[in-house]
Amino acid sequence: MDVLVCVKRVPMVGGKVLVTADGQDVDTRMSGFTVSPHEECAVEEAVQITEREGGSVTVLTLGLPEAAEQLRDMMALGAHRGVLLETDGREWGPDATAAAIVDAAGELGPSPFPLILAGNEAADTGGYQVGVRIAHALGRPCLTGIKRLEIAGATLRGSREYRGAQEVFEVALPAVVTVKEGINLPRYPSLPGRLRAKRAEITVLRPQWKADGLRKEGLRVPAGSARRAQILGHGAAAVPALLDVLNGLGVLPSAVRSGGDAA
């Protein structure tokens, strides 16, 4: 199966994110760049699918020419082909991004991608929409937030945990799926993989930017509050409180779990 995976180049940030002096962007002077964590899992999932079933993985991103670095990172993990939708650095809304991806998917070759994967949401803008909008544009079903994906013939079964239960979806291919971290353990790039990626060709397309109704005025950093654990107590004397916490988190064996008043 040929799988298209959509990723986004985002700065690698620590616990505190700095904003540029003009308040328009995240300060990346000392940052490295990566793809959003969910997307790395999407690539891994795609690679595993093609390892099982054959086919190819095309990884696509929309961004500055520098985003080719992330395409190569993903190719080092096993993606076969990279597509860069090159932009001038302006921010693209989810609708415009989805439209550009749909256009590109059409241009990329005779065979459509039966499966398009994306991350559930981007680490930076956190819009939660690109996958859904692609699906609507293509008239395909879309599963989001998927943490387990199985493919049986033309049927795709995806599941996720929601409010303590498993939600399972079953749809026919072609489909769009956005995945969440935890669906798999993304591999690290092997050295041979890294060298293959370095030599790989990247297809570059230049889509047209479109405005949407949501306009960024500026970014700022909220006044932070230092996080610190709640101290449950000292030594073995803290065990009752600890037990209550574990109970509250629902990790105690069922025989031990107490309903209700975890005061």
Partner: protein
């Protein structure tokens, strides 16, 4: 969580390996009420200690670094955090094979186990290495890995057990306060203020930033070193512990490969120098990993990947092993590659303990703790003294230029005489343009451009063709020319004119001037005006601290003349020992005076053409100085010599230097005067006379008795090191400094080879010589003696071997050459009765 003490005996900033070690050793030496602060959490506050690859090779190019590493290793072992793994430097080129032979010889000089290996020998120890890409290797079986974070924790705990230390984690230093007289007064932190007289900056890459708070400069720059960790390695899954295979240094490619648990770490110094300004290091909160683990820049590492794969194709080429960790790890680089230790010259009470690797951390902590406690450090760390830097060497431009240049030489084959290219020229003599016209080949000392020889003297090669001792081997002819030896012979035949502008000139003046110089000089300074005194300075333990001359210019005026390289440390030493009542001052007048040296049998004849003053032997005897009028210039002439010839040092105001140079040159030409370089002054002329050099023969690990430099009497007045010196005089020396001649230069392959210094001195049976104090004998200086027709070596020998005529061997590039003791003690080989100097 600790309370912030109001007062501390010392505040140590930075809880990396250095700060923890310093805290422990200070506590051990009796300090109490110490405070260790760090803005980060324990045990890994986020500095370079937290991301180091943590391996220790015992072999170094510098004796000081080797000793610090050795001491650190002992300390790590005692703390139980050392794991011996062995280490191998592999060679991909013939040049490197020769370098590894040199390195093994160097190891023998210092008693470090080392052996050369064939490619198969390497593979036997490192089965995953492709031996077809290497020519061999050098195996150092005592290489090991350490856990510096654990070591730091243990050291903190020990200091706390001594009830000497308060640790403040998460306390960022916001300012350093000084008293009205400029001394350290306190430290302001985010957790509270602490009053203190002593601050030690152990902040690694942040050190310049912290020093700036106190108005001091610590010349280092953060620079990135790339490292990746590849795993899981199937082969390592079966191994126990952190490391089971030797560390490999792929030195030709500036890389290393080191097992770390289930992973292989691959580090590189091959990429472009990536310099980060101390103020641009991200905060703990902003950093993805830690502040000093900067984002990895893949492009810079790509070429290294291929080379690493070439060396370990199967292990690193495993598709199931991935790059799990990759950083541009920040490390500190200094202009000369040495640490920056000691009290900052600008701010009394502010100590720099910066630019250390993991391998020296504990040793540095101990040495500086001793120093701070008024105890002479057991290891001579003068080469790391922060006061060694001249102002221009502390500029950001200089520091970054040298860091850039030095970075890729980390594993380079660095010739002992190799010169820096960046940041030159800075300091030039008034005769600089004339010297350039003469084809001077300049070497740099303390920023000064010094002619090492003059290509214009190539014409002399023919004249002295049979006495040149030319060097057919490329290694020994590198950074050398037979013209040096021709200039030497021309000087001995007629005269040589030397540019000695790089001398540091320090005036000690005031009512207490005599007291000031008496305090530091071994020699009697209560001499008549116009006398020149050659003397050593000692440390409290009686080791050498300086070796220089002092002119008495007046009742309250002494002029100290010392080498450019040590000018600033000597300046600080004198300053630190000035009379407490402020009755004397020391002033650096280097930039006011140019010095030329005129020496040779014709020196008097030449000078006589320029002056009407009495310069006869009787009228201007050896060991005196006075003003004369020469070529219409007032010149301070000083009759001494470091090359064993009649002549003078001529001091003139710098703007008149060119005129004097021209006048002497013109006056000397008919007599056969040649411009002669530092190759003659510092090596050939000196070695023929057996003159000792500070930093080569003379350092803190030897004494005046061993160096053969005692005088019949010891002055009555007190001076630093006197007690130790008196004791030394009463005991038999454990070693005697000797001059050796090389009897046969022919190598196994039939080539003539000439030692350059540092080689182990061995018995005729090839056994290392170790003296009663455990010191191995090795060559401290080596060079041609054109007038005696021999290659000369200086070496300390145990008394049993220090016998004229004693046959010995010297190992060079893995081969042994026969040598003979020519002089035991300080008698010159050339002109033993010093007739020339005194003629």
């Amino acid at each position: 969580m600790s309370q912030v003490p109001e007062r501390a005996s010392a505040v140590i900033i930075g809880a990396g390996i250095v700060g923890n070690s310093l805290a422990y050793h200070l506590a051990r030496l009796g300090w109490t009420e110490l405070v260790l602060v760090d803005k980060g959490p324990m045990p890994n506050p986020g500095g370079s200690t937290g991301h180091a690859s943590n391996f220790i090779f015992p072999i170094e190019y510098s004796k000081m670094m080797m000793e610090l590493t050795r001491d650190s290793t002992e300390q790590y072992k005692e703390l139980g955090v050392f794991t011996e793994s062995g280490g191998i430097e592999v060679a991909r080129t013939q040049a490197r094979m020769q370098e590894l032979r040199r390195r093994c010889s160097q190891a023998k000089s210092w008693g470090i186990p080392a052996e050369l290996l064939t490619p198969e020998g390497v593979r036997k120890l490192v089965p995953y290495l492709d031996d077809s890409v290497i020519l061999g290797g050098a195996h150092f079986p005592t290489v090991g890995v350490v856990d510096p974070l654990r070591a730091g924790t243990l050291m903190r705990e020990r200091a706390q057990q001594l009830d000497a230390l308060t640790v403040l984690a998460g306390a960022e230093v916001m300012g350093i306060d000084k008293s009205d007289d400029g001394r350290i007064a306190g430290v302001r932190t985010t957790k509270g203020d602490i009053a203190t007289d002593v601050v030690a900056i152990c902040c690694g890459v942040w050190s310049p930033r912290i020093a700036k708070m106190a108005g001091a400069r610590i010349p280092l720059t953060p620079i990135a070193h790339q490292m990746i960790s590849v795993g899981p390695i199937a082969l390592f899954d079966g191994t126990e512990g952190e490391i089971a295979y030797p560390i490999v240094r792929d030195v030709d490619e500036n890389m290393y490969e080191r097992q770390h648990g289930g992973d292989m770490e691959v580090g590189s110094y091959a990429h472009r120098p990536i310099i980060v300004a101390p103020d641009d290091i991200p905060s703990i909160e902003e950093a993805v990993l830690s502040p000093t683990e900067m984002p990895f820049t893949q492009d810079d590492f790509d070429p290294q990947l291929e080379l690493a794969l070439e060396l370990m194709p199967e292990l690193l080429g495993d598709e199931h092993a991935g790059v799990r960790y990759a950083i541009n790890g920040l490390i500190s680089m200094t202009p000369d590659g040495h640490p920056v230790l000691g009290e900052a010259p600008e701010v009394p009470g502010l100590w720099s303990v910066a630019a250390s690797w993991i391998k020296e951390g504990p040793g540095i902590g101990r040495a500086v703790a001793e120093w701070m406690s008024g105890v002479t450090p057991e290891i001579d760390i003068h080469e790391a003294d922060i006061s060694r830097f001249y102002p221009h060497q502390r500029t950001t431009a200089h520091v970054t230029a040298r860091a850039r240049e030095g970075f890729n030489k980390m594993y380079g084959i660095v010739h002992p005489n190799e010169q820096w290219e960046s940041g030159r020229p800075v300091r030039v003599s008034p005769a600089y343009e004339r010297e350039r016209a003469l084809g001077a080949v300049f070497y740099e000392t303390a920023g000064w451009e010094r002619p090492f020889w003059y290509e214009s003297n190539a014409g002399l090669l023919e004249k002295y063709a049979d006495r040149l001792m030319d060097r057919p081997s490329e290694w020994e002819s590198r950074w050398w020319s037979p013209i040096i030896n021709a200039e030497h012979l021309a000087m001995r035949d007629a005269a040589g004119l030397f540019d000695l502008s790089a001398f540091a000139v320090l005036d000690v003046t005031g009512p207490g001037a005599l007291e000031a110089v008496q305090k530091v000089a071994v020699a009697q300074m209560h001499v008549p005006n116009g006398r020149v005194v050659y003397t050593s300075f000692l440390d409290e333990a009686g080791g050498f601290r300086a070796d220089l001359t002092i002119m008495r210019l007046g009742p309250r005026h002494f002029r100290v003349v010392t080498g450019g390289a040590t000018g600033m440390t000597d300046y600080k030493w004198i300053t630190d020992h000035l009379p407490a009542d402020g009755s004397a001052a020391v002033t650096d007048v280097t930039s006011a005076w140019t010095t030329f040296g005129l020496w040779g049998p014709k020196a008097r004849d030449i000078l006589r053409n320029l002056t009407a003053d009495d310069i006869s032997n009787a009228g201007f005897p050896f060991g005196t100085c006075r003003e004369i009028e020469a070529a219409g210039i007032t010149v301070l002439a000083s009759r001494i010599s470091y090359v064993g010839e009649l002549g003078w040092e001529l001091y003139v105001p710098i703007e008149q230097g060119a005129k004097l140079w021209d006048a002497v040159f013109e006056a000397g030409e008919p007599a056969g005067l040649v411009a002669a370089g530092i190759g003659v002054y510092g090596t050939t002329g000196r070695l023929e006379k057996g003159y000792r050099a500070y930093g080569a023969e003379l350092d803190a690990s030897y004494n005046l008795v061993e160096a053969g430099m005692t005088r019949p009497k010891v002055k009555e007045q007190e001076f630093v090191g006197k007690t130790a010196y008196l004791r030394q005089r009463e005991t038999q020396p454990s070693a005697v400094l000797c001059t050796l001649i090389v009897d046969d230069h022919v190598s196994e392959s039939g080539e003539l080879r000439y030692m350059l210094g540092g080689e182990p001195t061995l018995s005729v049976d090839g056994e290392p010589l170790t003296d009663a104090r455990g010191r191995r004998s090795f060559v401290t200086s080596a060079g041609s003696g054109p007038s005696v027709g021999k290659h000369l070596l200086l070496s300390y020998l145990p008394p049993e071997q220090a016998v004229v005529g004693e046959p010995l061997n010297v190992e060079y590039m893995g081969e042994q050459y026969p040598v003979t003791v020519a002089v035991a003690g300080s008698t010159p080989l050339f002109d033993p009765s010093n007739e020339r100097v005194r003629s």
